[in-house]
């Protein structure tokens, strides 16, 4: 069954009468890794928030796992990861990871077992009793990912999760994320403004154009799995990066092809 079906999605913000998204159609199949990329103001984060039922579309329909986005949110069908890891600094790492499980009413012993499992998964065993502010940015992001995975959602929505990290940490976390994605057989929708990151991670890259936000093109990424650091040196990798970059140039991204400006939330 299709995981996400977006049809005719339009979003207008009443303030300033801005059309953020216009006529977006997109289908995401199970096991896909889809990146949304585009210049600032193209509404890629908005698409993610509409899928997550965090904001309401002006028109169009969104289905998640064959249900309305609203129903899917109530059923905990997806896990969300934000750019700033949004950890609660009054909670230890372990308690941050356990937060969604507390709300689902899991018992303490079961939570504890699950949290240990998750910390091992993101290679943070032994850090459970630390507080978030004692960790590096990369480690904080791993905690946020562990938290999103805690209740085993089949769908992960990630809003520029590695945007605030340095290049080295970002590349390492990219590989770790792909490993998790393969092992858990999850579906990931990933918002980024880095072309190479989008190409490296994804099975499909959706290029969006700004004002109003539309789908300008979709690039299938046929790089072999599993992807490793060598993938980044594959000639095919560069071809695909170029293809995405040219699509972006066509929609008015800057001359370097990278879209560095922050998109307003």
């Amino acid at each position: 069954m299709t995981v996400v079906t977006i049809s005719g999605l339009t979003k207008t913000f009443p303030r300033g009468n801005v059309t953020a998204l216009q006529g977006i159609d997109l289908q995401i199949e199970p096991g896909e890794f889809v990146s949304l990329i585009g210049p600032s103001g193209c509404g890629k984060s908005t698409v993610l928030r509409v899928i997550g039922d965090l904001i309401q579309p002006t028109s169009g329909t969104i289905e998640v796992n064959g249900k309305s986005a609203h129903r899917a949110r109530l059923d905990h069908d997806y896990g969300m990861v934000f750019q700033d890891s949004v950890l609660f600094d009054w909670r230890t790492v372990a308690k941050n990871v356990a937060l969604p499980l507390e709300m689902l009413g899991w018992e303490r012993a079961r939570r504890k077992r699950r949290v240990e499992e998750l910390l091992r998964l993101v290679e943070l065993q032994g850090f459970g009793d630390h507080y978030p502010w004692q960790l590096s940015g990369g480690m904080q992001m791993r905690v946020a990912i562990a938290r999103a995975l805690s209740f085993e959602p089949a769908l992960l929505l990630m809003d520029e999760p590695f945007g605030a990290l340095d290049e080295m940490t970002r590349e390492r976390l990219n590989i770790e994320l792909l490993e998790l994605w393969r092992r858990l057989e999850s579906t990931i929708v990933f918002v980024t403004h880095s072309i190479s990151e989008a190409v490296f991670l994804s099975t499909r890259v959706v290029v969006m154009s700004p004002r109003p936000g539309r789908v300008a093109g979709i690039v299938e990424i046929d790089l072999p799995q599993p992807r490793t650091n060598d993938t980044r040196e594959d000639p095919r990798f560069f071809e695909l990066v170029t293809e995405v970059r040219e699509l972006l140039r066509g929609v008015g991204a800057d001359q370097h092809g990278s879209v560095l400006a922050e998109e307003p939330a």
Partner: protein
């Protein structure tokens, strides 16, 4: 300790300079206007006209006033907190009630105190109510701000978990508010002591610090040290309240060492 010694030195130096030079600005200094500190502390060990040592009398008064202040502080803190929790969930309620809550604090406590005494009869209960009246306001205002202090992303995160209002309150709003709450409690802790002392005056309660202050005030020209000693003890009570809150904060609030505005 060093600060205490320095203050002691300043006090005596001021005294000595003014006495020696005969300066009369802002007021002439002598044993009545500004007794020696050792006279003040010495007064604690002297017998009062009624018989027992002054320190014994004052300790009884302090305990009496402390009870009133504690009960008032606890009641004011709880009411203030609950009021904020109620207000945070409704913008309309905030607009409707906040002006009156602010207005309640512009009425001088000295005008309110006699009315409370008329309503509740003179007794420790009415004093506790007056202390609570001074306590709740900073707690409400700060807690309200604290409950709204969590970042929008954190609210989005909880929404993505389909969190109930109750969960949003207990897992996000309240923990985020705690540094603000403790800031307010520190203000309120000392205010509740002041409230209790003032509250004793119109109630003509003799057993507390308020009664003692009123009493020694009348004999000031004969025995200034007793009033000074009483003030010292009252200040010590306020500081004790403050310290208790600081310790509680250390235990409860564990988080990144960032200052709260």
């Amino acid at each position: 300790m060093a600060v205490l010694l320095a203050l002691w030195g300043l006090w005596e130096l001021y005294r000595w300079t003014w006495v020696e030079t005969g300066w009369t600005w802002p007021f002439p200094v002598n044993d009545t206007t500004l007794p020696h500190l050792h006279t003040i502390f010495g007064a604690l060990g002297k017998h009062t006209s009624a018989g027992p040592l002054l320190i014994t009398v004052l300790l009884k008064s302090v305990w009496f006033t402390a009870k009133e202040a504690m009960i008032g502080f606890a009641a004011g803190g709880v009411v203030g907190f609950l009021l904020a929790v109620g207000l945070v969930h409704s913008r309309l309620a905030q607009r409707a009630f906040l002006p009156y809550i602010v207005a309640s604090q512009t009425i001088p406590i000295l005008a309110v105190a006699p009315m409370v005494v008329v309503w509740l009869k003179a007794g420790w209960q009415s004093v506790a109510v007056i202390a609570a009246y001074l306590t709740f306001f900073p707690v409400t205002i700060n807690t309200l701000r604290g409950l709204q202090s969590a970042e929008p992303r954190a609210h989005e995160l909880l929404r993505s978990y389909a969190a109930s209002r109750w969960h949003v309150l207990w897992k996000l709003r309240v923990p985020a508010s705690l540094p603000y709450v403790f800031t307010a409690l520190k203000i309120s802790a000392t205010a509740s002591v002041v409230g209790a002392i003032i509250g004793e005056l119109p109630s003509s309660i003799q057993d507390g610090l308020g009664g003692a202050i009123l009493n020694f005030n009348q004999y000031y020209s004969l025995d200034p040290a007793s009033l000074w000693a009483t003030n010292l003890i009252a200040a010590a009570l306020g500081i004790a309240f403050f310290v208790v809150i600081v310790i509680a904060e250390k235990i409860v609030v564990r988080r990144a060492p960032v200052p709260v505005a």
